[in-house]
Chain length 134, copies 2
């Protein structure tokens, strides 16, 4: 298709940054395959991630670069960076320090399961969130 | 945190739809754990997905609902719908018809791996894309 990723461009330019200069980035545990979270990257975040091997995102709420784990200690060591066919989404294969990606103490941020009675928390809390940020 | 998903709201209202009324939705193979693609959903897409058990997305380029597989036959049967901690991303656990999610004939859209020399196609093409849409 016409909109596929253009391999002739420098790798950062080949990506289709959105109107805010961002792309969604999925973090997946490299070993278990668990999808841990979805965050956002701008060019600087992706460059920092590639250069350091540690996941750095763009925090839309705080409007600054955010090294995952800078407050919690739950860093993400990046094994591999992937882009999708049309270059508008990223996938990081990571080793998650402490096995906990979510500020709630769940392994994954995707712990709400849709049921007939609404969203239900489906996975165990592995660590008291108060102790994560203590 | 203050922005966590509010379980008191009806499930569709609990989600934090963006300014365009959309949320990113990750499709993951329920059996292999492979991340297949990232697409977008509006409320109608998510409602249709939940009601039918088949993944329906919002196509941003075509500006219409798009039942995954409607042209290729590569439908996604949805086993589970998940939301993340703050309700601004979705994760679908799916069974992918034909084992191919990507219009390029790759199992996953995330087949480009970042290397020192740029993006490199890292996974095999399982089906000639010309035959997918023939």
């Amino acid at each position: 298709m016409a909109h596929d990723l253009d391999l002739a461009l420098p790798w950062l330019d080949a990506l289709k940054w959105d109107d805010n200069g961002l792309l969604p980035a999925i973090a997946q545990d490299a070993k278990s395959g668990k999808v841990l979270m979805l965050a956002w990257m701008n060019r600087a975040a992706l460059e920092a991630t590639a250069a350091t091997g540690e996941a750095v995102y763009w925090s839309r709420s705080r409007r600054r670069l955010w090294k995952k784990g800078e407050e919690s200690g739950h860093f993400q060591h990046v094994q591999e960076i992937r882009a999708d066919c049309d270059g508008d989404a990223l996938l990081l294969l990571v080793t998650q320090t402490g096995g906990i990606a979510c500020h709630t103490g769940h392994a994954s941020c995707f712990f709400y399961r849709q049921t007939e009675s609404g969203w239900q928390a489906a996975d165990p809390v592995l660590k008291d969130p108060e102790t994560i940020y203590a």
